[in-house]
Symmetry: C2
Subunit: 182 residues, 2 copies
């Protein structure tokens, strides 16, 4: 069960899938996220490596929640660098016992619509599979403590982010079905 | 040389890399793109599968070029669905003779900063590697023939897209160095 604790905290949308994978002798999961909407602050243009989270949600976000997070970022002033809103798809890292086990779960993931799934590394005793879907957004919103778009556009962007997030989460249901047939 | 013709048309930023890969007996490339900025129109919310290109550039884009492409989209009226601006990183698909050749080129790609690289499929006689970098943007700009942000924000977004594009292209130089040492 310790394996299930890896990845995002409190991420109930994905626990059943992790259990379905981990009950099999040939697989174990090492990290996962059911999809999320995040606000990140980049100290300098495009340096995503040094990104700091301003806010993080594993569910659709209300406009009021977004506004509060933006206020917090704006209050940080010019030092805040660039602000980006990201919507990220579900992701699961699975270690498979061998290459043929890896290919089997990869095929199930592809059939469930996780089209960015792949093998990340291969060694004699294990193969690491990344199950990944395509639904994402990467939107720059402002720089130097200033949000550069108006409320009307922010509402539009947030609507799209929530749509993209829900679409990714819905695919998890299909993934569970495909995994049960594995 | 026919292999080199695959992928984007007129994409000079990547030809030297393709030649470097294809001159080796254990690899051949099947498709590639050096990175691009595109405007796409989605018939319905989030249905990227049915996306139509409004414009496509393999180089940094001027604000006037973006404006002209937006005008073209707006002229299409309500039927145009959703408009998105995407910046996409370099991508190269390489078929390797065997798994160990695949792992070797995967390692070179990772060392050059292509951190989303992976093995897409494995079979008895070939392994398909995707060399992929991380620099990207996916920004919704409008819907139903209406651009929902103002010129100030558009200039900001385009600046970020050009930055992201250049960053991806710069990594190609490092990739070429790593491939030569392969």
């Amino acid at each position: 069960m310790e394996r299930l604790a890896a990845g995002c905290v409190v991420d109930e949308d994905i626990t059943e899938i992790l259990a379905e994978i981990n009950r099999r002798a040939e697989y174990y999961t090492t990290s996962s996220c059911s999809g999320r909407i995040v606000l990140i602050s980049l100290p300098e243009a495009g340096a995503k490596k040094e990104a700091r989270f301003v806010a993080k949600w594993h569910r659709p976000v209300s406009f009021e929640e977004l506004q509060n997070a933006l206020k917090f970022w704006v209050a940080g002033g010019r030092d805040r660098g660039e602000l980006w809103l990201l919507a990220q798809p579900p992701i699961i890292h699975v270690t498979a016992r061998d290459l043929s086990s890896a290919e089997r779960i990869l095929k199930a993931a592809a059939a469930a619509g996780f089209k960015y799934s792949s093998i990340k590394s291969v060694s004699a005793d294990k193969t690491v599979v990344e199950i990944l879907s395509t639904e994402r957004m990467d939107v720059p919103l402002g720089v130097g403590g200033e949000v550069l778009c108006d409320e009307h556009f922010l509402r539009f962007v947030l609507g799209r982010a929530n749509f993209v997030l829900r679409r990714g989460k819905r695919k998890l249901e299909k993934l569970l079905v495909m995994l049960k047939e594995l």
